[in-house]
């Protein structure tokens, strides 16, 4: 598999504080890749840097052979990178449909209507409530909307930042199943999770981040059975 996304020695700083201290990883075409780690490990910072919301201090980000670490955020979306941010960040006072249409903001082609239907097929509840203000939704429904919205830009790479945060186990299962569905439909997924069990089980590759550095990497199954990971992230002795 060729690398869709390649991160080389990425350093990101907030003022003088280095949040990401030189990490490198690759995401292959069609893969699900998972970044796990505790709070403050630099996972969200990494995603925000890839999508252009933050600028790296040094290092390179390559997407499909184009260097994107100096490209504006809205152009990165047009290139095919969608970001479903931490905390979902849906637009609460806009209707579900308006939220979805905003996901397709970077596009100007005629396929938006079809993709709207595709998003509704992915999450039928969104179709039922298409005209409701999104703020009236439960956490799980909001997460579905956030994922549907990200898919509206027709991304090659979908980055999900903690999709399971604050969800019931049942709802989390539903979201994780959708991740697999999207992968089968051909979308590459970069997943950031604290819930290592659910995430690693579905990932082709995983990277463990600790205070801004990659400390461990391997296939999802390898990491799931790694002693250190089991102790630190799965709460087993």
């Amino acid at each position: 598999m060729s690398a869709l996304l390649e991160i080389k020695d990425l350093e990101v700083a907030y003022g003088k504080i280095l949040a990401v201290k030189g990490i490198s990883f690759t995401v292959g075409e069609g893969e699900v890749v998972c970044l796990i780690g505790t709070n403050g490990a630099g996972k969200t910072t990494t995603l925000r840097t890839i999508s252009g919301l933050l600028r790296p201090k040094s290092g390179e980000i390559w997407f499909q052979g184009t260097r994107i670490d100096k490209v504006a955020a809205h152009e990165i979306v047009s290139l095919g990178v969608a970001h479903s941010p931490e905390g979902r960040r849906i637009f609460p006072r806009l209707t579900v449909e308006e939220n979805l249409l905003l996901g397709a903001f970077s596009r100007n082609d005629g396929g938006i209507k079809n993709d709207l239907e595709a998003a509704y097929d992915l999450f039928p509840i969104l179709r039922e409530r298409a005209k409701q203000p999104a703020g009236t939704f439960s956490g799980g429904e909001q997460q579905m909307l956030a994922m549907g919205r990200a898919m509206m830009s027709r991304p090659k790479l979908l980055m999900l930042d903690e999709p399971s945060m604050g969800l019931s186990p049942l709802m989390m299962q539903r979201i994780m199943t959708t991740v697999t569905t999207l992968q089968q439909q051909g979308t590459t997924i970069l997943l950031v999770e604290q819930n290592a069990q659910a995430a690693l089980g579905r990932s082709n590759k995983g990277y463990v981040l600790e205070v801004g550095k990659v400390v461990l990497s391997g296939s999802g199954q390898e990491l799931l059975h790694d002693d250190k990971v089991r102790k630190a992230y799965l709460g087993e002795d």
Partner: protein, 575 residues
């Protein structure tokens, strides 16, 4: 707002209509009769009080107000009596009756006090005033214990199309003649009384739910309303019979409203707080003045006015780009401070470009006077022209021209609001970071709004220069920017109708309230505080703004959903 919405129509009304001829109903009816009879009698021996209320059967203006209130009360009484069952389902007559009673009583008490004060003692009051007072009190008493009748959500009521249109036409006619009447009042006291009666009646109608019904109708027939409003604005000069004073005020109002509409794109749509907007208007005005045929113009190039307009707009837009490019990259608060400073810098720069310190461009504090009137193809704006026998004077000419400019700005505004760009602005207002992650070019869109707003202000400024005859720095002070913002906030951010109403109120009141000029700012301050407390979304609110301010109101959320469904169903139907 309907607080008592029944799910499936208002079958509950039958219970009320059965007990129709109640004691309270007849009591209120008696009050109406007394109020009318009282208002037709003399109120006072002295004909100098309250614009002459000393005649029998020939009521003065205030007595006419009371008769209007009485007729409205009668209308709601008949509604309650079951005369128009369809309307009765829509409107809560009990609440309207209570508000009307309270207004009438408060008003009559005030009248009695004024008569007592101005004629030194109640001895000069005629019996008529007491008859009317008793009538008003009876209305209040009778309506007080009337049970509120349940109403239905107006969104769910569909009447015939022509009924809706008729309501719109009636509403616009009332606005036209109301405005003409208000402007025609020379006596300051009568004007204030007219305003307070208007306030009371509006309150009563709002309590009855009439305005939510009208809003639904207006949404259904947006185009009709827009065209109608434009027609009313167009017809207004013909009601004035060439009156200089009133047309001057009307022209001031329309310039102010046009500028406020431009600012509304920046503030209401893109959500950028611009505290120096008047400087963009000023930049346009100075361009208009320096390129005019004025003997004092400092640039001796005289292009046709249409070119001057475009140059003025472009100069303003360039200034907007210069201010916006560095500041729009950072968050909102900085923009407010920078624009505030820019407004002052502009004024001082115009003040100092007088030849002593640098080039002589603006003639400093003297400004550029004697700007000649516009002339298009031999049509001179300074002359009075007769149209259908009604003289249209200099102000009228500018009024019509500015009306066209306003129409252009309204068109730009609505097209932008409903476009992809408009959706991007909404996203930026809601959550800028999330919008960025969605691929919205936040900086580009904000800069576009800022420079676009400046462009429109510059356009209006070039016309303003000719209408004002002279351009001086002190016309473009911070207070003007603040008033523009106040008009937007008062009227309703992001709406066209709201801003037009807000601008009209803020410009009309000071003109008509000259006799309390010292307290005008105080009154405005109070008005704004009251609006912010009781209706933070402004007089006319977009549904989305309402949600912003009343987020926990689930009923409102449902209402928005209904309205939205209806709107989209309508658009699909026509497509």
């Amino acid at each position: 707002m309907n607080t008592s919405t029944l799910p499936n129509g208002a079958r509950g009304t039958t219970a009320v209509t059965v007990s129709r001829p109640s004691m309270q109903w007849y009591l209120t009816l008696a009050g109406v009769v007394l109020l009318i009879v009282g208002s037709l009698l003399s109120w006072c021996y002295d004909e100098g009080v309250l614009g002459n209320v000393s005649l029998n059967v020939n009521p003065g203006p205030i007595q006419v107000f009371m008769i209007v209130i009485a007729v409205l009360t009668l209308f709601f009484l008949l509604l309650r009596g079951g005369l128009f069952p369809v309307l009765d389902r829509l409107l809560d007559s009990a609440r309207a009756l209570r508000a009307l009673g309270a207004t009438a009583t408060a008003f009559m008490v005030a009248v009695v006090i004024v008569i007592a004060l101005q004629t030194s003692g109640l001895a000069n009051a005629d019996p008529g005033v007491f008859v009317a007072l008793v009538g008003a009190a009876l209305i209040t008493w009778g309506s007080w214990s009337l049970a509120s009748d349940p109403t239905v959500d107006p969104v769910s009521v569909h009447m015939r199309g022509w009924v809706d249109i008729l309501v719109i036409v009636a509403l616009l006619a009332i606005v036209l003649f109301g405005a003409a009447y208000a402007l025609g009042q020379e006596d300051g006291t009568v004007f204030v009384l007219f305003l307070s009666v208007l306030g009371g009646v509006s309150l009563a109608l709002a309590r009855s739910g009439l305005f939510s019904w009208i809003r639904v109708i207006a949404q259904r027939h947006r185009q009709v309303l827009m065209l109608g409003a434009f027609a009313v604005a167009f017809l207004f000069p013909f009601t004035q019979n060439g009156s200089d004073a009133n047309m001057s005020i009307a022209t001031q109002v329309i310039i102010f409203a046009t500028t406020a509409l431009g600012l509304n794109i920046v503030v209401g749509l893109a959500g950028l707080l611009d505290l120096g907007y008047i400087a963009f208007l000023g930049a346009g005005a100075y361009v208009g003045a320096t390129l005019s045929y004025s003997a004092f113009a400092t640039i001796h190039w005289k292009p046709p006015f249409i070119v001057v307009m475009i140059i003025g707009a472009c100069v303003s837009a360039t200034l907007g780009l210069i201010i916006g490019t560095p500041t729009l990259r950072v968050s909102g608060d900085y923009l407010a401070i920078v624009t505030l400073a820019f407004g002052e810098i502009f004024r001082l720069a115009m003040f100092n470009l007088d030849g002593n310190n640098g080039p002589n461009l603006t003639r400093g504090p003297n400004g550029i006077p004697a700007i000649p009137d516009l002339e298009f193809f031999g049509f001179n704006f300074g002359d009075t022209h007769d149209i259908f026998g009604i003289p249209i004077n200099r102000f009228g000419n500018y009024y019509f021209f500015l009306l066209v400019v306003a129409a252009i700005i309204i068109l730009v505004f609505t097209r932008l609001n409903n476009s992809r760009i408009g959706r991007g602005w909404v996203a930026i207002r809601e959550d800028e970071k999330a919008a960025e992650a969605m691929g919205v070019n936040t900086f580009g869109l904000k800069l576009f709004a800022f420079a676009g707003g400046a462009f429109l202000a510059g356009l209006a400024g070039t016309v303003k220069a000719h209408q004002d005859v002279s351009v001086t720095p002190d016309q473009y002070v911070f207070l003007e920017s603040a008033f523009l913002l106040a008009a937007i906030v008062l009227g309703g951010m992001g709406t066209v109708a709201g801003v037009l109403i807000g601008a009209t109120i803020l410009k009309l009141l000071p003109e008509k309230l000259r006799f309390v000029s010292d307290y005008r700012l105080l009154i405005f301050g109070l008005l704004l505080v009251l609006i912010m407390r009781f209706r933070p979304e402004g007089l006319v609110a977009s549904h989305r703004r309402q949600l912003e301010f009343h987020e926990e109101d689930t009923e409102l959320a449902e209402h928005v959903e209904h309205a939205h469904l209806e709107a989209t169903a309508g658009s699909e139907g026509t497509a």
